[in-house]
Amino acid sequence: MEDKNLTRRQMVQRMALAIGGTLVAPTVLLESCSFDPDTSTAGPERLAILDAIAETIIPRTTTAGARDARIGAFIDVMIRDCYYPEMQEKLNAGIQEIAVEGKHALGGAFEEASQKDREGFIGVYDAAAAADGSHFFRTLKELTMLGYFTSEEAAADGVINYEPVPTRYDGCAPVDENTKVFYSNI
């Protein structure tokens, strides 16, 4: 991951030099830091259950999964900072329900169950959220996807086509079955 990052920065600098004119100050480029969530208010159990829910939605395949991208920590920060108490309580109650009911249904801790078993259990929540936009799971799914598809891991593994400095625009580019979503910003 770090190598890829350096390569990108070197690429940006090289390109800026090649273009001439206004350059990006190197200090600006080196200030870049990676995803560094403040998890000081979350316990390890909460992060584990959130990671497991997110991983159920976006599992590791040949590419990074949600747990690799620390989406549990991302969701915790988002719930803490971006939602008011009423919604926080609704989301936290839903997470608690998944933990308790999951343990009951799967015969052991939800986060320790297999991906297949977790998918079977979470599928019910996903169906409910697809039918009802106000269902707590709709928000958990949205946060999982927002966090994952804007993560360094998804970019580095080519799950999205992340080009920080495209340098050109092609309004009619061909695609094949391997083409990934082009990502330019948030």
Partner: protein, 561 residues
């Protein structure tokens, strides 16, 4: 702050789009200019703090926190409240205002103003835009016409750098372009079909924008990152920092003073002109007086009017320019957030690469030529076609490996557009000083009392229906009209409140943007607008400012100011 020099040849109040142009033109003509900016300095590139960050470096991926929302009840009404450039939007607690009726006021108090965050769409007004008030007996006639403005449009376009296509349409006169950006394949097909279906009367063209992808006056040009509003280290778009400020600084004639709130103009009632300005230092709360034979007010439309309202109140209770009875009146914006969208079944083997910093534009066609509606004026559309990304997966059924694989591929094509309609200049739509409420610096705030009226309501029906009609005629499926919450101000195109006119009885400013009651005071931002057209206004402010600056310097040399 060096306080040795208190007298200049000209003072420019504000450093946004029009203030930057005033400073450039006046300094290049040899005047020693003091540019006052109420907010902090923002240095080109160095202070674009977030522009080179990757998305994962933002803990909330761009979204506002509840702490931000609690502090900013106005900003949170739209995209202005976010994690990416929060320092460039005015803090609602420091700078409150009064809403007799809802008005969304999104402000940028820093060097460069909203030139750093603007939408960059750049269109000339057409000949009829300047004539409509007079022909229809609405408000008051413009004192200038297209021919007065045309050479100045050309002048500012050459320096600002525009991209767009030459279309030779009376309704949307061409500008000077360095190049054009491309429509994507779906937009191009739609353009061809709409042109044919509506017999050339409706046209879909690439948006005309102050973005350039070629080197221009020391700027590298657009890299298609589509992150303009974080500040562009490549100088890809026109801003004060990328364009006018370096030109003005290069003359050696410009002094820029940030943290300088202009409280009022110093009015000489015997000489009937302004002697200078009173500045409140926003950091120290000390006041200073600066003098100059010329003052340009470019504080943004409603703040330029605020300064006039606070000036010469011993002569006119309502302030300088209030003798006309029009100061603070005729507040305008562009009304939008109504249109349609649809899906496209073809071109599944086509996609786009790069973040294009503009969409398409459909110029006005209503009440144009032989078209006649039950309202006056018209609207244009802005929109784009795109393929879905991960967001489409949120509401769809699906989790797990197959879902992940599917959602990482480009989704279906959709195309959407919103109209941007002209708001008429109603005398009843107004701002006033509210002396019962003060801001962080103890200064009185503005009070808003304005609303859309019948003409706009009728127009909005067409804005929705015509969009549906065009998408359907172009072959889009599942076409649906939509309308979302719009309040005046949301267009961030505040216009009027110190309009130009033909006589002191009907207007605050004359045909050279001079205050009738103080001819050495020029107002060349949105405040000066006598009507609104339906096209984005900033290019017109640039041209108007350059025109007025040229006149001001000539008159100064003649000794008439």
């Amino acid at each position: 702050m060096a306080e040795d020099k208190m007298h200049y040849d000209a003072i420019v109040v504000g450093s946004g789009i029009s203030g930057g142009w005033a400073a450039k033109e006046l300094t290049e003509k040899g005047l020693k200019v003091l540019m006052l900016e109420r907010g902090k300095n923002v240095e080109h590139i160095k202070d674009y703090t977030n522009t080179n960050k990757d998305p994962w470096e933002f803990p909330h991926r761009g979204r506002a926190t509840t702490a931000q929302e609690d502090r900013n009840p106005v900003l949170k009404r739209d995209y202005a409240l976010n994690e990416l450039n929060p320092d460039w939007w005015v803090d609602d607690q420091d700078c409150p205002y009064t809403e007799k009726k809802r008005f969304d006021w999104y402000r940028g108090y820093h060097v460069g103003g909203r030139s750093l965050m603007w939408g960059r769409q750049s269109y000339r007004w057409n000949r009829e835009d300047f004539l409509a008030n007079e022909k229809e007996g609405i408000a008051t006639p413009w004192p200038i016409g297209y021919d007065d403005m045309a050479p100045w449009y050309t002048h500012v376009e050459k320096f600002a750098g525009l991209s767009g296509s030459h279309e030779d349409m009376d309704v949307l006169p061409d500008s000077v372009y360095l190049h054009a950006m491309d429509l994507n394949c779906v937009e191009q097909t739609a353009a061809d079909r709409i042109r044919k279906a509506f017999d050339e009367k409706r046209r879909l063209i690439i948006g005309r924008t102050s973005n350039i992808a070629v080197p221009h006056h020391g700027r590298t040009g657009c890299q298609y990152r589509n992150k303009c509003w974080l500040g562009c280290p490549y100088g890809g778009y026109f801003s004060t920092q990328a364009s006018t400020l370096p030109a003005a600084m290069a003359t050696g004639n410009l002094t820029l003073r940030p943290h300088s709130i202009v409280k009022e103009l110093i009015y000489d009632k015997d000489g009937k002109k302004a002697k200078g300005v009173v500045v409140l230092d926003a950091e120290t709360n000390m006041t200073y007086e600066y003098t100059a034979p010329i003052v340009f007010l470019n504080a943004s439309a409603l703040n330029s009017t605020w300064i006039l309202m606070n000036s010469a109140t011993d002569v006119w209770e309502g302030g300088l320019g209030s003798s006309s009875g029009e100061l603070g009146h005729n507040l305008m914006d562009h009304h939008f957030r109504v249109g349609a969208s649809g899906t496209w079944e073809g071109d599944q083997d086509k996609y786009y690469f790069g973040g294009r910093p503009t969409g398409f534009y459909i110029p006005r066609f209503r009440n144009w030529g032989d078209d006649k509606r039950d309202y006056v004026r018209g609207f244009g559309y802005q929109g784009s076609a795109s393929r879905g990304d991960w967001r489409r997966g949120v509401r769809e059924l699906g989790i797990g490996a197959d879902f992940k694989e599917n959602i990482s591929k480009p989704g279906p094509w959709t195309m959407g557009m919103t109209g941007f309609g002209e708001v008429l200049p109603y005398h009843e739509n107004k701002i006033e000083l509210d002396r019962t409420k003060t801001d962080k610096w103890g200064l009185p705030v503005l009070s808003f009392d304005a609303q859309l009226r019948e003409n706009e309501a009728k127009m909005r029906l067409d804005m929705r229906q015509d969009a549906i009609e065009m998408l359907e005629s172009a072959g889009f499926k599942d076409v649906a009209g939509w309308e979302s919450d719009y309040a005046l101000g949301m267009g961030i195109h505040e216009m009027g409140t110190a309009r130009m006119g033909t006589a002191p009885e009907n207007s605050v400013l004359n045909k050279w943007n001079q205050v009738w009651d103080a001819p050495n005071v020029f107002v060349t931002d949105g405040a000066a607008m006598t009507s609104a057209s339906c096209v984005n206004p900033s290019l017109t402010y640039m041209a108007m400012t350059a025109r007025a600056a040229d006149y001001a310097v000539k008159e100064l040399k003649k000794g008439t100011l």
